[in-house]
Subunit: 367 residues, 4 copies
């Protein structure tokens, strides 16, 4: 089971290698009637495109998406939507050398162990290009969520030891920052920090935060398919993610019940609300109506120009230095990927959530 | 979809409420031929039993497990194993009051939002007793893994601000500590800390760590069903968990590629090994043959005796104080639950991993 | 993967062996709010109980069902419903002999090939008693369908060469006939036929038909998860079924397009209807609003008293004669099982069908 | 859930409409190491191509398959294989008229009911062209099965009332007959019969049979995921299929236990065999080592030139006559589709079957 599918109702299946003919995604189970065209999806894809700032690889990837099925006269039909981005500018010769050894921090060795050999060109299936399919599917999920009054927004929380001050943040700042960091001052500091890392032929990590606003309460299933459990899988399935947290996350380990519990109260609109949101919008695996908050820890780019120890396929110790220009940091381009996976997961669980109560089911089918 | 099933090949389905007739689990897909009896499973269950130390509720729960199917003449038959623990000592009257309001930090409100009403007795389905089924299934998974040379071991890493020093740790210490903390000195400190929290009518959180030794390399699927992604879901699906990390986890956000990359080297046995294990044994979603390391952040027990603000079912602001004795900390009893979910997930992916290579499949069926 | 689960949203998992502690089922994903008690389920189970007529085994099986979870104050809560029937009257000694050989027409040999050994007592997992869990789950599915205005009804269409004339049929006749055959004349003929077979120490087969009335149109997914495809799986998964057909079924092979096509027309209520129903209510895998019609071919009971050729576990040719009283025909007791599987499948697809259109989803969540 | 995926380990997802950019399939979970190129797959696709005989539509469909991912240096890599056939010769104007009414025997009405509207061009998603993806995936499954010593072969059993005499059949005859009917005499008769039907502006149905040789015993899961249950779903999911049977199928309804039971015996090679094969190679849902035999009933082509009654989208009665040339029979082109679905299903269950016994799992991982 190659495990390239995510979701139960809204089902996303990605395919493609870095240096094959292209990368793509099948979105099966998209409800009929959503207005959709290539421009809409392209806007999301452009957020992960490289070559836009000096903090990402200058490789030129056009990444133009093509809708191949599932849309008729501008609307989704309910049948599978096939989206493809053809690979155009990949040059295989750049990668021929790495066929013979295992790059530290990459999946070269584990691929060989699992399958006996691998498509070594540009990381093959484990290339960051696989996320193109995720972002394209996420674009559809976000458009559907918007039509239900739900917004998903990810941004850079920290890079190295530079952390965004959310008090100085405005949503517009996210898009202004080349690092998708909502605090302009922090963003500038982070740029200088990355500058230094590049000079040192090194790379850096960071934290991405994602917020979902407008969630109905009661979404998520109370045991294994908890909303937070599925979000954890969705986000941890992104290549460089090494940690996921919800609400206060790891900080709860040092907290006390008296401050970590969010009190319920009568909200301004007369509805039930919470005075705080340490829980990040999820209680017992189900949304409580407040904002969903999650964070992902992103490791430093493993491809660095510095010399590194490793072994070749025969198990002999060698020294390597990875050529070519690589992103000194994965975080900024991964922001939209975290947003996409969050949107896909939340949408799927909202659709699953339509069958929890008999009275609502009866009303639905009366029509 | 109530979402009470986990796993693809080794499939675990739990059922039961805190104050219903019992709680249980169906393990479907357990390979035939494993020696299994109730004693073996009971040993794991005893590790989550309350009332054993003063840091857990003095409620007496016998929690004796009964095998109802799937075992014949002492061996698993390959058919579903039904395990049940009947509820014996639950007293419904203790809980009648909470029917009318929403406890902070609990799933009362979200259950009502999802289903329209809830079995309010003792938390109903979202009670910690649901984990009995997980631990019972985890016991079977661990026994199967042992027979394949794989060990899973969880323990308490930190409680509040007290962290175990793993240099002082021995595996035996885990079981000696009433808190399952492998560093005796830290364990004592943590006991004093909990003592204080109990006096303050408050509760505390902590971190559980779990290590898997003896993993074959190449386990996990490279895209959505990454080993770490499924582990994240498995562990985040446990009630009080608010964060999951693999290897260095959130620390990677502040690390650089030059130190975070684990170098490959020729191991002592001539096989390929790694000089460090920042990755926690997983590269590109697949095991790399070194130890799997994961951590879970556990929130403080939400049930505290202190007065708290909340609302009743009519949305009116009220003050409550939760009666009865509750664990001042969830961590120690959750250790075996984290271990169980890790074992279930790892086993499932090992079984899925048998079909990745045609040559191995051909050899398998030649027999 | 022992494959004991059926369904995506309304998920049914059976467990148990003929001579273990009991047989049962977990129904996960049942919507909250259905009134349910043991009496309701028992009525369905009584229809498959043996010992009620002379055409079924005189073994006494009380088969009293017990609800263990998922129902609170008389209503389903949305959490897993665990139903169990404890085995009370099974006598293991009756079956000790068959441990050593392979009964023709039974799963003894295939179980040994798959698992290496088997629980040989009374057929173990492949005993007809496994269907108790199906019928109990089917009872819940039928009650849910009724609350949506949908009726499912199965009956005996033919036994040997005796076929019910549906013109003489009334629904009441189904329950009056000891064979659940709606045509009283045919039922009597079939009884005489079975009498003869019993004298000859032989057994007979037949056909069960099932009709679903009140279906909304558009249920079923157009490609692999067609309504008829899932029904075929649901019904073929019943032990003795060797064929499934929808509408005219195998008769279409000899039909022409001009008569097999059902014309659409304006119905009496002004809505679109069909003048005929050769299609059995399904077009392109989706319900068309007319009655769903399916049939299952049931093989003769393989356990017969006559002498038969077979081999023992060492592969040596032997002659056997199966002792004990067995049903001379499986059909009458399987009627409610076909009905149950049909109901489970149809309900699951109706729940899945709630997410096909964005406008309906928007309206659902507006509330 | 649009339900376009089949399989658990070997997972097939089709996409595409008749008149969109193309049709395709993603095969996820294909084991690494199979030699594969476009020519191999094309051979299977050519068997369903129209325009080869006068009994299929003269529309020219090149249907050239392209491998887009998952194959590297001539071998499958274990990652998703994306296969696409671009639509080249479709002319949308031919179909514009049918947008406004519902063709009898087609999915026009049910699509509108499910999704609110439909891509009406050439049947859209429910076009026979969707099966291109199935056949392409089936080609891979068959190649994998061959490498395990397992052969799958489908052919035309009957057309109208002309039935092939299997005594006169040789495997070569299948490919010689324009109708894929292995008995040359019957094939000729059937051609004359179809000639007549075409003159009458009518269409005919038939029966396809499929045989799997070389099956290991013990494949299939004993309860819901029985081999025959999954085969029934696989085959019934093909557009025009209205019935599926295994072994003697519906004939068992008139049989007696004494002749329907297959006796076990010591085979010529000393292994356990059966003297007959009424069961069609499956007992208790698991393969018994003899040939798997299944049959599918195929309805007459619903598109006929004769005048028919129907309604338009406003529900008004109208008369229509479907223009364009259509196959007078679906059977011959569906033969390879039945074979493909059988192969996909059997392969998936063989892969699932590797985890049933602990001793075999232990041996597998020892290496």
């Amino acid at each position: 089971m190659a495990g390239s599918t995510f979701g139960t109702i809204f089902r996303v299946t990605t395919w493609g290698e870095s240096h094959g003919k292209g990368v793509g995604v099948i979105v099966d189970g998209c409800p009929a009637g959503l207005e959709l065209d290539e421009q809409k999806i392209q806007q999301y894809l452009n957020r992960r495109k490289p070559g836009q700032t000096r903090y990402s690889t200058p490789r030129k990837e056009e990444d133009l998406v093509e809708i191949q099925s599932g849309v008729f006269e501008g609307k989704t039909t309910g049948t599978p939507i096939s989206l493809v981005v053809y690979n155009k500018t990949q040059r295989s010769k750049d990668y021929s050398e790495i066929a013979g050894y295992y790059r530290p921090g990459h999946a070269d060795y584990t691929f060989d162990q699992k399958y006996g050999f691998r498509d070594y060109r540009g990381g093959g299936r484990s290339s960051g290009r696989e996320t193109i399919g995720r972002v394209a599917a996420g674009a559809i999920a976000e458009e559907l969520l918007k039509s239900l009054g739900i917004q998903v927004q990810a941004y850079t929380k920290s890079i190295g030891d530079v952390t965004a001050d959310m008090d100085k943040a405005t949503p517009e700042n996210i898009m202004k920052s080349p690092l998708y960091m909502p605090d302009p001052e922090a963003s500038e500091k982070a740029e200088l920090f990355l500058e230094r890392k590049m000079q040192e032929q090194d790379s850096a990590g960071g934290v991405i935060e994602c917020i979902v606003k407008g969630m109905p309460a009661g979404i998520g299933e109370p045991v294994f398919d908890k909303l937070d459990a599925n979000l954890a899988k969705a986000v941890m399935s992104i290549g460089a993610v090494k940690g996921v947290e919800i609400g206060d996350g790891f900080a709860v380990a040092g907290a006390f019940g008296s401050d970590n519990n969010d009190s319920f109260c009568k909200g301004q609109d007369g509805k039930i609300a919470k005075t705080t949101n340490h829980a990040g919008g999820i209680l017992g695996g189900m949304s409580d109506g407040s904002d969903i908050i999650l964070r992902a820890a992103i490791k430093p780019t493993p491809s660095i120009a510095r010399q590194q120890q490793t072994v070749n396929r025969d198990g002999e110790d060698i020294e390597i230095s990875i050529k070519g220009r690589h992103d000194p940091i994965i975080v900024p381009r991964a922001v939209v990927v975290v947003e996409a996976m969050t949107a896909i997961c939340v949408l799927d669980m909202i659709l699953l959530g339509m069958t929890s109560r008999l009275d609502r089911i009866q009303e639905f089918w009366k029509k």
